[in-house]
């Protein structure tokens, strides 16, 4: 276990400079964008240069850059992420409002993806070169070549407009106050299908390749020679080891839970993080944009770290070496 601990510590140590680098880049972008916090005042003809200078001192903008960076970083870590240019609300509060909706959507997508991809991947691998396998391979190819926004529009046209089975967008029916499960599910179907397509295709291909490689290994042959039932061989021995790479890939996708899918949220009018980023982008609302960007980058770094640690723990070659 000592090996694993030192592995984790090394990974953690590597992540810290990365996070610092990200914060520096974020700060640099924040400084580079036009229309800083005093833009509104500068545009006002009644505000004199002395007033602006005074405001600069108040906001600490006359300090040298590295001091500004450090104070910005301190505020960031303390939870003060600035205020939106557009709505004057605290950025953190705005993000907090939208985040649960994105997690709700992406969490469902995640679950659906895993539940569909694992059985299909295993089946395709155990029936290599069969009709099913060829269908799966071809199908996944096409699924991840499909532009997600096209798929979303097509689904809306067919199932929303023509067949009227599902609503055209939104998370709940407008004006609904009580929690209605059926209504929620109906609103989930189209966006989840759109988003799950790409992820499922990806995971199926990954798992299939991983399973094929594992099944070819000696220990699987031994298990078969021992006379174990095929299902036991596949599920208990092959799948357990083949799923390690998949677990790490799935861990790497965890930030998606929070970042969401911007384009799909926009198409379906889903009130989530992606949509918040988009709305802020159209209004040049840089504090919100930078808040979301920084938090996403940090999450990605942490997810990479978690995936590394998980891999180090699961892979017996590292654990027991």
């Amino acid at each position: 276990m000592h090996r694993v601990t030192s592995y984790i510590v090394r990974r953690l140590a590597g992540a810290v400079p990365l996070l610092l680098g990200i914060s520096v880049i974020s700060f640099a972008i924040l400084k580079a964008v036009p229309g800083g916090p005093l833009a509104a005042y500068e545009a006002n003809p009644n505000v004199t240069p002395e007033d602006i200078a005074r405001l600069e001192r108040v906001f600490g903008l006359d300090q040298p850059v590295h001091v500004q960076y450090l104070s910005w970083l301190g505020k960031l870590l303390g939870g003060d992420w600035g205020y939106s240019f557009a709505t004057s609300q605290p950025v953190l509060a705005m993000i907090g409002q939208r985040l649960p909706n994105t997690v709700y959507l992406m969490g469902t997508v995640y679950l659906v993806t895993l539940c569909i991809a694992i059985p299909i991947g295993v089946l395709a691998a155990t029936r290599q070169y069969s009709v099913f396998d060829h269908l799966v391979t071809g199908g996944t190819f096409m699924a991840y070549s499909m532009p997600p926004f096209w798929l979303g529009l097509l689904l809306i046209i067919v199932f929303g407009l023509q067949l009227r089975w599902f609503p055209l967008g939104g998370m709940t029916a407008p004006g609904a106050t009580a929690f209605d499960l059926v209504d929620r599910l109906r609103h989930l179907v189209l966006p989840v299908t759109t988003l799950a397509m790409f992820g499922t295709a990806h995971y199926v291909r990954y798992l299939r390749a991983s399973m094929l490689e594992t099944i070819g290994q000696d220990y699987v042959r031994t298990a078969r020679a021992k006379g174990l039932a095929e299902r036991v061989v596949v599920l208990r021995h092959a799948l357990k080891n083949a799923s390690i790479p998949l677990v790490t890939v799935a861990a790497l996708d965890l930030p998606e839970l929070f970042v969401g899918a911007l384009v799909t949220e926009q198409i379906f009018g889903w009130p989530g993080m992606g949509r918040l980023f988009w709305d802020a982008a159209t209004r040049s609302d840089y504090p919100v944009l930078m808040g979301i960007l920084s938090v996403s980058a940090a999450l990605i770094v942490l997810a990479n770290l978690a995936a590394d640690v998980l891999y180090g723990y699961l892979d017996p070659r590292i654990r027991y070496s």
């Binding site: 400079p17 990365l18 680098g21 990200i22 880049i25 972008i29 580079a32 964008v33 071809g138 190819f141 096409m142 991840y144 070549s145 499909m146 532009p147 926004f149 096209w150 529009l153 097509l154 809306i156 046209i157 407009l161 023509q162 930030p255 970042v259 911007l262 384009v263 926009q266 198409i267 980023f277 988009w278 982008a281 040049s284 944009l289 979301i292 960007l293 996403s296 980058a297 990605i300 770094v301 990479n304």
Partner: protein, 286 residues
């Protein structure tokens, strides 16, 4: 000459992949159609005709017309020019940067490698679409800007690939021999290491085109990127978002074009990967 033999072998292996070959045909058709747009279509892609708004597909307009009476098929052909060109340009930029960065990191190792790979890690940390949108908002939506921004966000995969290849090839005997003979770094890289690293670069480039076409379509779909009235496949879909209730064909056909282009490029890339990997044995046993 052994080099010609390898290429021949790779070509034969590629031709074994019927799907890849078919896709190459489809892609060639798409490219030719886009390039020959003025010859194929009698219509002007930007001329509006308010009498023909939202005409469903017919003999005169095989893909129907859009909200301003413009022939959709024509706009898709001309849009293909923009989308496909951007795809290729972006990949050129990305591969150039990637080979440079990856090559330096892989060949010189140690400090250069550590620093450059840290930069790659940092670039990977930011969500690509968010950065894309941010830069598009900051720098405007002209063609060159879009290409530059997309290229600048796509070089990292190539860099890692090239670095890995360089690291492994660096220690082969023929490189050592070249060192002993007194060849300079630049010669060694250009004559020995790079040619042997071409296979993964080619595959990455091909798959990169698919990614670039998708990325440009996404940007245009959001209204950043190339602006109307110049058609690109992405902004045709953007118009479709508002028009699709009245005219579903405006959503079907541009997306279909993107899909066909991306699928064929992906199949070709897959075929190339199998063809160029000398260790891969196809079922024909070659």
């Amino acid at each position: 000459m052994p080099e010609r033999g390898q290429l021949r072998l790779a070509l034969e292996r590629f031709l074994d992949h019927r799907l890849a070959v078919a896709s190459a045909g489809v892609l060639a058709l798409l490219v030719l159609a886009a390039a020959a747009a003025p010859l194929l279509s009698p219509y002007d892609p930007e001329r509006t005709n308010l009498l023909l708004i939202f005409e469903p597909p017919s003999v005169a307009h095989p893909m129907g017309t859009d909200s301003l009476g413009r022939d959709l098929g024509t706009r898709i052909l001309y849009g293909g020019r923009v989308s496909l060109t951007i795809g290729v340009l972006v990949v050129t930029v990305a591969i150039s940067i990637g080979v440079l960065v990856g090559g330096i990191a892989g060949y010189y190792g140690r400090a250069a490698d550590a620093i450059l790979m840290r930069v790659v890690d940092m670039m990977y940390a930011f969500p690509r679409l968010f950065l894309l949108i941010l830069f598009a908002v900051l720098f405007g939506g002209k063609l060159l800007t879009v290409v530059a921004v997309l290229g600048a966000l796509s070089w990292m995969t190539t860099a890692r690939l090239v670095r890995a290849t360089f690291l492994s090839v660096k220690h082969r005997e023929y490189v050592e021999a070249a060192h002993c003979v007194g060849a300079r770094d630049r010669e060694i890289v250009l004559r020995h290491i790079l040619p042997n690293s071409m296979a993964p670069i080619i595959v990455a480039a091909t798959l990169g085109v698919a990614g670039a076409i998708l990325a440009e379509s996404t940007l245009s779909f959001l209204g950043l990127g190339v602006q109307p009235p110049t058609p690109t496949w992405g902004n045709l879909l953007k118009d479709a978002q508002t028009d699709m209730a009245a005219a579903p064909w405006t959503a079907v056909f541009p997306g279909l074009a993107i899909f066909l282009a991306v699928v064929s490029v992906n199949f070709i890339g897959d075929g190339l990967r199998d063809a160029l990997d000398p260790r891969h044995v196809t079922r024909a046993g070659r």
